[in-house]
Amino acid sequence: MSVEPEVPIVQVEEVRENPVLYKIISSDNHVFTISEHAVKLSKTLWDLITNLGLTAENALDNPIPVENVNGKNMETIVQFCERHKYDEEEPEYTNYIREFVLPEWDRQLLSIDNEELFQLILATNYLDIQKLMDYCCRVIGDMAKDKTPEELRIIYGIPTDAEDDALERSASDSPGPSG
């Protein structure tokens, strides 16, 4: 099954410019096409493409399997990369991430439930997409606004000390590989 990402604006530019496209297969066998400029936002994918020696001629014939990312997340990631492929390179936000304003388009893209966001972050981390990671972290950070510790515990899925202790006890009580 193939899920075609919606990238209408970008496609126009692709026709105008370099049309090199790559194919990516998600862990659940969804196939995506992504432009060269967009895929470069992922350090992992671009290193893979470089190491595999994929070129404009053979790129579409050699889909890249990405075992750690499912189709849903990959769709979001492809959308994001296509949207931002011509952005100027920005320094890492780590030290001033609190200060930048998240663009509305990206805020909407990342308006997903907590669990999906969690999975998207893991995927983004694996694919090493700095900008998307900054944006996701900003969204997660914004969740803490005006929240009490108890609300934070629920939002961020932090177990209580008692729950942690119970988990550790059950882990130590459970039989090992030989038991």
Binding site: T94, D134, I140, A144, T148
Partner: protein, 364 residues
């Protein structure tokens, strides 16, 4: 979402999006979340409880600090167990956000008012793993709200109106472990505990007498506006040091009345009573090094002892330098005659009033 299961670098990014008080709240969630907060290391060195402003500040070296959290009393049914287990008690608080200062306000019952600031401070130190010293800035006009503690590490007091007896009782009751800065200008008895603190800084010392000077048992003292202190008192102080066995004193500075130049100290009259010698670079360093506990930031290099005279206490070979300049008296005892890292520590020429005193590494 399971925040704690995300990779470390992702944690770093997420936590960089949060305000310091949000770090604190996150750290209160569980021991593991506190561990996460500690791993990113707090960007402050210590906390100070400002009782006058009902605020806890976080401070870095060289700064007056940022407000982290406020507290007050006004009970509301919508409360949560915020500081569970503090001294065996649970303090239930309601949390709101200050509309302008954008920091949280914890609301508690009246009965917790004296406990809450210390409880919050203790929780902050636990979460961030910072120094658990208790530093309090206290408005002495609100002594009834002073926390239920017998001792504090550093105390800065200020006030315009306070009952004299209540004030003295306070200093009889409270034990100050390291440093006291007294701003009120109210009489302190010469035998009060506060004259034994390591570092004493009195901004308004109109009450200071010879007895006080002779009774000081700490490492460093700075008495400003000491209008009662005259030449004979300073002579008595030096004689007392020479004859005594005080090995603790390192620095004592007295500033007289800046508005009465006719009452300046008479250098010759004081020094003729003692056998003094000018600075010899082979005997001691030029610049005295402040005791590590407290530093007084002057606009001039007050530690420069090139023009001071030295006096030796023969019984233990301790050398002291005396500097007398107009209405300023400085007395430095060289426990280490050639100290390292004794670079000048100056008050910066800032437009706004900069901090003048450093306790440990913290402006206070």
């Amino acid at each position: 979402m399971e925040l704690l299961k995300l990779p470390y670098l992702v944690h770093l990014k997420i936590l960089s999006c949060l305000e310091p008080f949000e770090h604190f709240f996150l750290g209160l969630c569980s021991k593991k979340s506190a561990l996460l907060i500690r791993r990113i290391r707090p960007n402050f060195d210590a906390t100070t409880i400002d009782l006058g402003q009902y605020t806890i500040k976080t401070q870095n070296k060289g700064t007056r600090g940022d407000d982290l959290i406020m507290w007050t009393t006004y009970y509301h049914p919508k409360t949560i167990d915020l500081l569970t287990g503090y001294n065996g008690r649970t303090i239930r608080c309601r949390i709101t956000l200050h509309p302008k200062r954008k920091i949280p306000i914890l609301w508690c019952r009246e009965k917790h008012l004296k406990s809450l600031p210390i409880a919050i401070n203790s929780a902050i130190c636990d979460v961030f793993n910072t120094s658990s010293e208790i530093r309090i800035m206290a408005d002495m006009g609100k002594l009834t709200e002073f926390p239920e503690v017998d001792s504090v590490d550093n105390l800065l007091e200020y006030c315009g109106s306070v009952d004299q007896i209540e004030y003295q009782n306070f200093f009889d009751r409270i034990n100050i472990r390291n440093c006291a800065r007294l701003s009120s200008g109210f009489l302190v008895k010469s035998n009060a505990h506060v004259f034994s603190v390591n570092h004493l800084n009195c901004c308004n010392s109109k009450w200071l007498t010879r007895d006080h000077l002779l009774n000081f048992k700490g490492q460093s003292a700075l008495f400003q506006r000491a209008t009662q202190i005259k030449n004979d008192d300073l002579i008595a102080f030096i004689e007392n040091w020479l004859a005594g066995s005080n090995t603790k004193l390192q620095s004592l500075m007295v500033k007289g009345d800046v508005f009465r130049p006719d009452l300046s100290y008479d250098k010759d009259k004081i020094l003729k009573n003692f056998e003094t010698v000018p600075w010899n670079p082979e005997v001691r360093e030029r610049r005295f090094k402040y005791p590590p506990g407290m530093t007084y930031l002057s606009r001039t290099d007050v530690m420069d002892c090139a023009f001071g005279v030295d006096i030796l206490r023969e019984r233990d070979n301790l050398l002291a330098t005396i500097l007398i300049d107009s209405n300023k008296f400085r007395f430095f005892v060289w426990h280490d005659r050639f100290p390292k890292d004794n670079n000048p520590i100056m008050r910066s020429a800032a437009r706004h009033m900069p901090p003048c005193y450093v306790i440990g590494s913290i402006f206070f």
